[in-house]
């Protein structure tokens, strides 16, 4: 199949230009001002739209194996495609956890049968129990480039140090969910004014910041590499930015819910707003947006966390934490970057180039299993392309999701900008906003 993407704004690493793109046999065949469509090519109108490298999500909970009622690799991939994603990094907190070669292979093989590239983040410790290292080298040999116990951080500093020492020569990065459980345990929302009024036990910002601080110091000690997952406070971002300036190998992501919603959303006791780390203060939300615009974060990552309705229906303190993210992340990022004032270069930087760099999925990374992501649209590469139309106004609805789960905190929220086209692994997956 051939596709001609007509007159879109091609978003490069530092500027945009209007051009046509020809995709032939799954690869970028030409990028030029005007391309005459070969016979049989499907012409896709991209005028006034942003055409860039396919989006990459560093943080997706696909729930398979173990909790297929909430999501499967296949349904998660569909939701991802609708959101403009061409590659997802599957988190290892499945049941059982992805802590060995057999389980990682299972997810990679199932992922290969979806329209997207499904990369895997392996567990740092066996069973994510925080006691013994998982076989990182064996999993790295399969192409695993990120390791995390996400859902919980590695609590024991000596174990984290050992993991960093072990991971360094393997050339892989540890991704940390930063929350000190001794400070956060039992809490279900941000500790502060609102939690005090609602009588909900809080998870203090300090629980996150203390672990960010600790891991920065462990990186300094070990010269290892850490990726900070879903940073939610102004102070966390400041510390990571300072560490990066010192030359430490630290990267970070922010999640859409943390830069669009604050703790006041919990006031109605609706567990759709329960997430770990929790929604923070309005000041933190503003700081995260500012950091995004200033280019201080490497990636926007969804922390897409599907849960069955009966679990999210529980009382706030008893419900599981997590919200859906894949299908609304692009529009929410556009909003946070300043809507009509947002910079398309920055948009693709945080949604594609940055995360591909962290996940080691770029062309230069020569990933053994996945096609190249997060680069320029150059001739010969496998086509991973997303078209975003910043003019479309729409309303998020829990009834129009492609995920198996329905736990979006954005039901009824007005959004601007929508992915109209996703070409992943060379195939047209989403056309005119719908799955092909």
């Amino acid at each position: 199949m051939m596709y001609v993407l007509r007159q879109g704004q091609i978003v490069g690493p530092s500027s945009t230009r209007v051009a046509d793109v020809l995709v032939r046999d799954g690869r970028i065949s030409d990028v030029a001002e005007r391309i005459s469509a070969p016979a049989g090519a499907l012409e896709i109108d991209a005028e006034d739209c942003w055409v860039g490298p396919g989006l990459v999500d560093l943080h997706t909970h696909l729930r398979e194996p173990g909790r297929e009622a909430a999501e499967t690799i296949e349904s998660g991939a569909r939701a991802g495609a609708i959101g403009g994603y061409c590659a997802l990094v599957a988190m290892p907190n499945t049941e059982p956890a992805l802590d060995n070669v057999a389980l990682v292979s299972y997810v990679l093989d199932k992922g290969a049968r979806t329209p997207l590239d499904i990369a895997v983040a392996g567990a740092i410790t066996q069973g994510r129990e925080g006691r013994h290292l998982a076989p990182l080298a064996e999993m790295a040999a399969l192409g695993v480039r990120l390791f995390t116990d996400d859902g919980i951080g590695v609590q024991d500093p000596s174990l984290m140090r050992r993991a960093l020492d072990y991971a360094r020569p393997l050339g892989v990065r540890l991704a940390q969910h930063c929350e000190d459980e001794s400070l956060a345990a039992g809490g279900s929302m941000n500790e502060g004014v609102v939690s005090s009024r609602l009588g909900l036990v809080g998870r203090p910002a300090l629980a996150e910041e203390l672990m960010v601080l600790r891991d920065i110091e462990l990186v300094r000690l070990t010269r290892g590499a850490v990726h900070f997952l879903h940073l939610s406070t102004a102070r966390s971002i400041q510390m990571v930015v300072a560490a990066r300036l010192e030359g430490l190998d630290v990267t970070c992501e922010v999640a859409p819910h943390h830069f669009t919603l604050d703790e006041r959303a919990c006031a109605g006791f609706d567990a759709q707003f329960k997430v770990h780390p929790p929604l923070r203060t309005a000041t933190d939300v503003a700081a995260l947006r500012e950091a995004l615009r200033a280019g201080l974060v490497d990636a926007v990552a969804t922390d897409h966390a599907p849960h069955s309705p009966e679990l999210k229906d529980r009382a706030f303190d008893e419900a599981p934490a997590g919200v859906l993210g894949l299908e609304h992340a692009a529009a929410l990022t556009y909003e946070a970057l300043g809507a009509t004032k947002s910079n398309p270069v920055r948009f693709f930087e945080v949604l594609s180039r940055g995360p591909a760099r962290v996940a080691r999925l770029r062309a230069a990374d020569h990933h053994p299993r996945h096609s190249a992501h997060g680069g320029d649209l150059v001739k010969g590469e496998v086509a991973n392309v997303t078209i975003f139309d910043p003019r479309i106004a729409w309303t998020a609805s829990r009834d129009e999701l492609h995920s198996r789960a329905r736990n979006t905190p954005y039901d009824g929220r007005d959004l601007t900008g929508r992915v109209t086209t996703t070409i992943a692994k060379g195939r047209l997956v989403v056309h005119e906003g719908k799955l092909v």
Binding site: E191, V193, S196, R197, G199, F269, F316
Partner: protein, 328 residues
């Protein structure tokens, strides 16, 4: 702010105006008289069905609510949670749907989770929900009966009827609440009620038993509990909730008693007119000394008695009324 609970759910006192609170107090005053009759019953809720759902153990509040409902001639459906399908894993939504299917007008519910009554309000919008205590959040009828009791005592001293005094007796009234503020839904409701009526509220507690943030609360933390006792017109002693693990927030119960217990020695600092309150059940010898609890200054039994007319008023107003518009 809400200016009347007529036709509305009673979930929290935080959003009630002084007008709304006074309406409940004045209505309760009428029901006090009913409770003094030989035949303690009025037909106000005849034919109405009140479901009493206590997901958390409670004897006094449950008895008080069920007595109130019966004195209004309502039929009471009482769910014994320990023997119900909740123990078999049934969700709150399904439990409520099942009870609702039997045909009910109101639900009185207590739950161990903050916000559970709010959730139920969303599930059955046609049924009035009265929060009888949710987690650490609110216990509205306790807050109402506490201000009712204070007004009753002060009005008697002034040889007036409570309803004639409105909120006048609360102006500048000095209220000291002591103990486990952090884990107390009673404290949250009490503070809302007292401050709405114009009282000045101060709190005394070990640092670990204060909420994480008092920024939104119109209260002051006292530096010296003993001095504050000399300041107070009303002392509200809270229960130390050992069942919520409060024990680990203080080094020992003995030290808590030593520093924040209302001991006999400390009670001597109180001024002669001061009122001592406790929501019960008491840990005698921990937060309050037995002799203090039984002293004339203590109105603890009166609080219990007033629970019935306050809950009659709450049921009557929420079930039979039509909601008014909110004001900001």
């Amino acid at each position: 702010m809400i200016n009347s609970i007529r036709g509305r759910n009673l979930l929290t006192l935080n959003e009630l105006s002084d007008t709304a609170i006074l309406e409940v107090l004045d209505t309760a005053e009428l029901f006090v008289e009913v409770n003094q009759r030989t035949i303690k019953k009025v037909p106000a809720l005849k034919g109405r069905v009140v479901a009493s759902l206590f997901f958390e153990e409670s004897t006094r509040t449950r008895l008080s609510f069920e007595t109130a409902a019966k004195r209004l001639s309502a039929d009471v459906l009482s769910l014994a949670v320990a023997s119900s399908s909740v123990k078999k894993g049934e969700s709150l939504r399904d439990t409520i749907a099942t009870i609702d299917a039997l045909g009910i007008d109101a639900v009185v519910m207590r739950h161990q989770s903050s916000g559970a009554a709010h959730q139920v309000g969303g599930y059955v919008p046609h049924v009035r929900v009265i929060n009888a205590g949710d987690g650490l959040h609110q216990h509205p009828t306790q807050g109402l009966l506490d201000v009712f009791t204070v007004r009753q005592v002060l009005a008697e001293r002034a040889h007036a009827k409570g309803s004639e005094t409105g909120k006048e007796l609360f102006t500048g009234l000095r209220v000291l609440i002591v103990g486990d503020i952090r884990h107390s839904r009673v404290a949250r409701s009490d503070i809302a009620a007292y401050t709405a009526l114009g009282a000045e509220v101060r709190v005394a507690a070990p640092g670990t038993l204060l909420p994480a943030s008092l920024e939104e609360w119109s209260v002051r933390v006292v530096d010296d509990f003993d001095e504050a006792l000399e300041w107070a017109d009303v002392v509200g002693v809270l229960r130390l909730q050992r069942e919520r693990g409060t024990g680990s927030f203080v080094p020992s119960l003995a030290e808590f008693t030593e520093t924040f217990g209302l001991t006999s020695e400390r009670a001597r600092r109180l001024r002669p007119h001061s009122i001592i309150m406790h929501p019960g059940p008491m840990n005698r010898g921990v937060e309050i000394d037995s002799a203090v609890a039984d002293s004339p200054a203590a109105v603890i039994e009166r609080q219990v008695s007033n629970g019935v007319p306050i809950r009659m008023a709450a049921l009557y107003l929420t079930v039979t009324g039509t909601p008014e518009e909110k004001t900001s």
